[in-house]
Symmetry: C2
């Protein structure tokens, strides 16, 4: 499936939750399948930390660049583009095409950098609603996402209850725990104390805070895999040696893996974006204005829900998904809940476990158009 990334420009200001206003913004997006005549078959795919609008397919001039959820989205796949019109989008503040810290600040003619405002899950959803307007989609058949993407799918049911019929909320949490925030804070501190960070104005110095990005990514990878999955994949296997080196070169396979992931990430990810995404995660808490009562927060939702969690996910454990399920039950929403036993930890939402995919295929198959 060959796809073409597109951009939509929005020249009306966007008031952000944090108080700042974006004077104008662009959203990078892709679409797969065809919008039907009734405009009733659109599905919004929301991405997590490290992904983009490139959800599925490849590019004609870059055939190895396969979308991050290509196993899920396409003709005959669980989210079947023969039936649905699927919209991938890059949230604002990201570094893959939508307006973010690497974009030009119209007020200065230079990159926004540290001056780009903090954005929230609510802001992303508000911007995505503008994209829906632009595409002529009054109401999505579904919004779907995993992890941070799931927060967006959930928030759609709260920000625009009338504009989304189904929310598919995978590997989610209604809000971060102190431990979740702690991991984000360590990653931020690693980036912000890197001497090449320059208070976020590193673009003009011609450097990037690579050391900090490496550490941030290494920490992330630990939380994406379960202890068991990591042991299964890497064990205590030494890397290219039969005995430990008694020095600080790589001894174990897991060390090599983490260094490689960190290096790769530092090559392409923007540090100012990383900082902002972790803050959006930390801040998200739809129950905050209801005294912490998630059921009260969910009262305005009108969508039907599919909630999926993974037993091996310790970042956002099934107990966190069950908080959402309980809140929906309290509100007598129509919902399905699947607790999957895939062993891959938080990353399981990206992998094609047969039971997980079967649940999604069945759910999408039952959505009326």
């Amino acid at each position: 499936m060959i796809v073409v990334p597109q951009k939509a420009l929005f020249d009306q200001p966007l008031a952000l939750k944090g108080g700042a206003t974006l004077p104008a913004f662009e959203i990078a997006y892709e679409t797969y399948g065809e919008l039907n005549a009734a405009r009733s078959n659109a599905v919004l795919v929301c991405h997590a930390l490290n992904a983009s609008h490139h959800v599925a397919g490849t590019y004609a001039d870059d055939p190895n660049n396969i979308g991050w959820w290509d196993n899920m989205v396409g003709p005959g796949k669980p989210l079947d583009t023969n039936r649905f019109f699927v919209v991938g989008n890059n949230y604002i503040g990201s570094c893959f095409g939508s307006t973010g810290p690497t974009s030009t600040n119209p007020a200065t003619g230079k990159p926004w950098g540290a001056d780009f405002p903090l954005v929230t899950v609510e802001d992303w959803v508000a911007a995505q609603a503008r994209l829906a307007d632009y595409l002529g989609i009054e109401r999505f058949a579904a919004a779907i996402g995993g992890s941070l993407g799931a927060m967006q799918a959930l928030q759609w049911t709260l920000s625009f209850p009338e504009r989304v019929r189904h929310a598919i909320v995978i590997a989610a949490t209604p809000r971060l725990t102190a431990q979740n925030i702690a991991f984000n804070e360590v990653a931020r501190q690693a980036i912000m104390t890197d001497p090449d960070f320059h208070g976020g104005h590193y673009y003009e110095q011609g450097v990037v805070p690579r050391r900090g990005l490496r550490i941030a990514r290494m920490i992330g990878h630990i939380t994406y895999l379960s202890d068991d999955a990591m042991m299964e994949k890497f064990g205590r296997v030494l890397r290219g040696k039969i005995a430990p080196g008694y020095d600080f070169d790589v001894d174990f396979e897991i060390e090599s893996y983490l260094r490689h992931q960190g290096d790769k990430f530092a090559d392409y990810f923007d540090a100012n974006t990383y900082l902002r995404i972790t803050k959006a995660l930390d801040y998200y808490d739809p129950a905050a204005e209801f005294g912490g009562d998630i059921a009260a927060a969910m009262a305005r939702a009108k969508a039907n829900f599919l909630i999926i969690s993974f037993a091996s996910d310790w970042r956002f454990a099934p107990s966190r998904s069950r908080e959402i399920v309980r809140a929906l039950l309290d509100n007598r929403r129509v919902l399905s809940y699947v607790e999957n036993d895939a062993p891959h930890g938080h990353d399981a939402f990206l992998l094609d476990d047969p039971r997980y995919f079967a649940a999604l295929r069945a759910y999408f198959g039952n959505i009326e158009l």
Copy 2:
């Protein structure tokens, strides 16, 4: 209880597991209680990452400097110094008085720094045996430790089966998992990529890799507490504000706590020591020479064992302690196993949970002198 730290000098070389030889070394130690005439009441206390020989009591000239296990060790306490002669020791490679990277390398007259060899749990135990000789202790009534200290207590039963009657192994693991190694590796990378690290030769530059040490410590603290304990202690409570700041200053209490812990640690801990301790942890695997068979590795142990784990400890979970228990059962060793439900995570071994302390008090009370 006023105590006086002491040092013992050993001028016979110590051959290390990694192949290097320490030409001579000092061990800093403290003792509490009196060695009885039969020399049968000595208990060796082994410390974990961040502690020292200062196990209990205070110093006459520094009354606020209380030993790290003062709640456990002293007159009338679970490890009762009215009955036992307790020996605290600082392992070699540390930065609190025993020979380590901050010590003077006799070959150069300058600090060892990066040239200090990597040391292992086995090396620590070998050095502690020299200390036992020096103190006239042929056989310890018990060796006790938590976490990395527990590895030393366990190794005593393997390196010197005849020289320890009881091993008290708390919050332990027989070897690190890939996830455990991964956390250590991220900490090491944070330190080693800090521009102030200078390949470990930072002493002569007049700097210390503070940024890296901060990050290492912050990561450590996340793994010492359980998710639940952290939520109980910090929740999502904002620090001195009623709404998020939408900037990168401290928002949540947990952020403030981590930054504070990181700053404090960077003020006093030596980075070369930190690197070496994490490697000692990674390398420890008594089953390695037995094809991974822990029971085979434990066959030479002759001690009785008390194994204690904590349900909320996800760093070294009860399942890891049970591996040791199973290996001991296979060898028909005399053992007690306590799985404690204290909610404090890995740190629980340092806290005075009543059931935990009662188990230790009872066990020590039953040791014949």
